[in-house]
Symmetry: C2
Subunit: 365 residues, 2 copies
């Protein structure tokens, strides 16, 4: 017999991008990892950790990290919560703001489509209704989004900005209007914001708009080359943070991660050099693919969504051909995205290998 509840039996779990066990010789442009290693200060923080610190429980509230992040972002400590990767913040927000087993039209989450597919999976796990509204053909926000979410009784709306998988950036003014009209909490997932030209911090800063219903998600995975570490955080009004804090696991971030995260966030200038290099490489790769007849969506993230020329191989064929050469990119098998590939920005050398295979594939047909 099955012991899990029926909705878990029916659940289609989130499927992360492929993480090959044998990484040697693989060019991995499928999960938006940063191509550069973390800063030396970060590795030093790991070396410096005394055995005593591992023996004891970690500071439950990650106080040192919260103070460091608050100083970097110009907010108060009680406006920051540290989480085991950004994913934990997403889950906590669903747990705290949405009604479990809520009826349609009551207490659910609002998403736009396409987007990070985990949002809907988290809704399904929590048994809360999910209202999904299609983005425009250019992947911009759908018109009248806040009212449409309100009509469905959504208590939590997710906007990933820059958007995945397109890389498009919703302007700050649009987010501001959305938050003002929406009745619930607007979670702006800024996992990719370090590669963009603007962020939404002013919506939550005490010296900015200080909106009481906006929660920003930040992650050290991409911008700080620390995907392996699992460290994210939320920034928002203190009452939102206090509510999330009640529902998190007692010691949700470990002492090593806390030490590393403090070292990372206190060195934004070091990371910034890498962000700029990625922007330069993003421009170059976009141009190269454009020359080859690809449609390249304008991106403010560390990836490009591209549509291969309609006369040549399909996106799926190109994905398979690259894979055979040990170059991994992402192909999403959904109606809206079937004709596209999402390619993480790598080094110029990785791009040269990618382009060489693409040219080879193009020559074949």
């Amino acid at each position: 017999m099955s012991y899990e509840r029926p909705s878990i039996q029916r659940l289609e779990a989130y499927v992360p991008g492929e993480q090959p066990a044998d990484i040697d010789g693989v060019i991995k442009l499928n999960t938006n990892e940063n191509p550069y290693p973390p800063a030396p200060a970060v590795m030093q923080a790991i070396q410096d950790l005394p055995p005593e610190a591992l023996r004891r429980y970690p500071p439950p509230d990650a106080g040192s990290f919260r103070a460091a992040a608050a100083a970097v972002h110009g907010v108060r400590c009680d406006q920051v919560i540290a989480t085991n990767g950004g994913d934990e913040l997403l889950r906590l927000a669903v747990t705290v703001f949405c009604e479990p087993a809520g009826d349609r039209g009551h207490g659910g989450i609002g998403v736009t489509e396409p987007s990070y597919s985990l949002y809907s999976v988290l809704g399904a796990i929590a048994n809360t209704p999910v209202t999904s509204i299609c983005r425009t053909s250019d992947f911009d926000l759908p018109p009248d989004l806040a009212n449409r979410w309100n009509a469905e009784g959504c208590r939590l709306g997710f906007i990933v900005n820059p958007h995945t998988p397109s890389g498009s950036l919703t302007p700050l003014a649009t987010l501001h209007s959305l938050a003002e009209v929406f009745n619930g909490v607007l979670l702006v997932d800024e996992a990719y914001v370090d590669f963009a030209s603007a962020d939404a911090l002013s919506l939550v800063r005490p010296d900015g708009e200080a909106l009481d219903n906006v929660l920003l998600l930040r992650s050290l995975s991409k911008g700080y080359s620390l995907a392996g570490l699992r460290f994210g955080y939320g920034i928002g009004a203190a009452p939102l943070i206090a509510a999330l804090d009640k529902a998190r696991d007692s010691y949700n971030t470990d002492v090593l991660s806390q030490a590393v995260a403090v070292a990372a966030i206190q060195q934004p200038d070091g990371a910034r050099v890498g962000w700029q290099r990625i922007r330069v490489q993003r421009k170059r790769l976009g141009d190269e693919l454009g020359h080859r007849g690809y449609r390249v969506y304008p991106s403010q993230a560390n990836f490009l969504l591209v549509e291969p020329p309609t006369r040549g191989s399909t996106a799926r064929e190109i994905y398979e051909a690259l894979r055979a050469k040990r170059i991994l990119v992402r192909h999403f098998d959904s109606d809206r995205l079937r004709d596209t590939l999402r390619i993480t920005i790598g080094t110029n050398r990785q791009h040269d290998s990618l382009l060489a295979v693409l040219d080879e594939v193009a020559g074949k047909y």
Copy 2:
């Protein structure tokens, strides 16, 4: 206005034991940490981690750890799930096996009282009914427990074994009968099992009982001196593990923790020396307190529940007197436990300091 749902507003969050920021000179016997540092091989695993490993996402399923744990415990890899501390396993079990917003009598959790108070908090967070049944005066399991949980429709029962806060060990045969009669999943929380004379592995091993509704929780926090790391795991029938796996965050354990956990679990002989020392110190501290007129509950864990002599200071007064001398023990302010203290087993030297203060307090009254 408040954005969190009403049951979160009402929620009384779990309160962990005090973790003082300034630890210098503190004798910390309040949160069941191991007094000895982790094994040298563990610290070496941290030093050896290449920056590349931090840059990339970790293996999502912690495959190396699961294989190592399976080999150590004589189970199959698909019988093991790695979690961000044992607390994550507890939360996942509630998420997967219980009905959110279930009505009384349907789909809830069963606990015994007193016990690890997080169980009930997790039930409240998930909006699932909690059926709590009192333990006997000696903190043994209540009679007819499985039928009483069944009558309330419980889908998940929690037994911490050895028990906290008393340290008592429920015999294997009792757990076996409980699992056979109970209609739901029996989660045996073995966080303290490394200090006990027996464990419940045979209930889940393929060459043992292989029960389909038993889930064991293990933790590296106490037995392996790694409370700072946040690493736990579950062992059970493969279908239970698969169900839990669907609901966990995609990358729930980080690459550093995975490497450290593999190093730790592959060195059980190193840890075992420490377990034996703690058993010896437990015996000595129990004897010393017994001589002083304390009631000492027989313990198979790394702590002692003790009742001070009724004629002297109250437990609370002793707790405060110790605290003033920077010795932390645990006092639970509940009807059943108000007259007791829970003291973590430390080193003999820490015990000498503890006993000296207790004697001083006793002399005062």
